[in-house]
Symmetry: C2
Subunit: 284 residues, 2 copies
């Protein structure tokens, strides 16, 4: 199977599961629920939950057991986009070519829709019926850490600070490792947990290395693409503040090689090799 | 011991635990962390976590084991106040006589601070080291349900709808049972779980009844107090839309009697009897 087909099939599977989680209705607050479905089904590629399912499979787990974790990750990602787009944050009226959540439903509903997806994500995670309470607790702890102060939200806060006292390459790496890297890492590691691979298992370290390397590659490539399209404001710190485009490529190439090496030895690692190359290749 | 002393002692205990959870710092996003501490320590009475600890004790549990759950409840409550106060919601610049979170730290930081407290709450809950994974999963599931679409957030959404198609007393009861009742109920039931009292135990039903009755009493008394102080806008639906002040009192009295009856038979129920009477008595 080629990667595109694999991603599309997984996206279908994840979409169906998400639909079921958001299936309950209530006419007294129909719009709140509709806003969540709108943002969850606005054309995302389901990259993060894809990783959860693939890592579960890579290590011999039943992918269906990882599906609730995958959905929890996608709910967290979606909530973060809804809140990011709000006027007090990035103030974006459009997202993926469509009105953003608050542009369509108003700020109050968008705020609550984001809060609800974040809240629901943890319920879905701890309520995974296919796995043990120990696994569910571990997964939820990872998710909270990755999405919280010392993960995604802290990364957002660093990113909001437009005139940092001491900008540096190290700070930029920290920003990205928190803002986008942490959730990608959680997506991968929750796939490990679903397969019964815990921290003491050497395969866990391979998965974590893969996650860190593709997370950073993803961001470097984003910066290159944004710069080409003139989408980065002048004052915004990016990888291109610290290196040329050529150097950025070389850096992303090295990271991708390391990611590939981490999964190459596994029988079912082929799709994850393709996936790492695909993230790198977006800019070529 | 009298109730006031009991509440103050518990508030101290809970405050220390919350402090420890928010103890880690980072100079790259110090304000985000400071905003969370600011709102967590802005003079709340810690009513909800008090209930968690008291119900754990009531059923013979070790209260210290319930402390992480109590903190999780207070984090959720605090996040909800921060987001409620935002300009797109109630637009309140003051909270408990001090600037609200966004008035002090700006909207973006307040938004993220609320998100972070919500996220952290689940981490604290599933990471309770004193209890089993089964208990932690159960507690987190309760918390997610109580704080989510079909609990607090849905209640908020109903409350935002200022011109409902069909206002009714039933709808008002539903609003309050979701908006404020659900979290009070979760606070009580998480105390049960910490004491090893699960759904199949008849004591669980007593606790749930108590929670439902005091939750509603709390809201009725709030409505009476707001009306007296002229704080309810004319068009706002309250209990006084459907009954006179005298009838509201009688209703709250009946609810309080039922709450008291639910805990009166327990050896350590005295403080919870006083607590129910205190909630009722705020308006007398």
């Amino acid at each position: 199977m080629d990667l595109k087909k694999s991603i599309n099939e997984r996206a279908e599977q994840i979409g169906q599961a998400l639909s079921a989680y958001l299936g309950r209705d209530d006419s007294d607050f129909a719009e709140l629920l509709e806003a969540q479905r709108y943002s969850l089904f606005s054309g995302g590629k389901r990259i993060r939950p894809y990783l959860t399912l693939e890592f579960c499979k890579l290590f011999g787990g039943d992918e269906r057991a990882a599906l609730p974790y995958a959905c929890a990750i996608e709910m967290i990602h979606t909530y973060s986009l809804i809140h990011d787009d709000l006027p007090c944050m990035d103030d974006d009226d459009m997202r993926r070519g469509k009105p953003s959540c608050h542009a369509k439903y108003g700020e109050a509903t968008a705020l609550l829709a984001g809060d609800a997806l974040l809240t629901h994500a943890f319920g879905v995670c701890v309520g995974n019926p296919a796995l043990s309470a120990e696994q569910n607790v571990h997964a939820a702890a990872l998710l909270s850490e990755a999405a919280g102060n010392f993960g995604m939200i802290g990364g957002q806060a660093i990113d909001l600070d437009e005139q940092p006292e001491s900008p540096s390459f190290e700070r930029l790496l920290k920003l990205h490792s928190m803002k986008t890297g942490a959730l990608i890492r959680a997506a991968v590691l929750m796939g490990c947990i679903a397969a019964g691979v815990g921290e003491d298992d050497p395969r866990y370290a391979d998965a974590e290395l893969y996650a860190r390397r593709i997370g950073l590659t993803f961001q470097i490539v984003d910066d290159i693409l944004d710069a080409r399209e003139g989408e980065s404001p002048e004052e915004k710190e990016t990888f291109l503040t610290y290196m040329t485009e050529e150097e950025s490529y070389a850096y992303a190439r090295r990271l991708t090689d390391e990611a590939v090496a981490a999964v190459l030895g596994y029988e079912k690692g082929g799709m994850l090799v393709s996936f790492a190359e695909y993230l790198y290749g977006r800019s070529v």
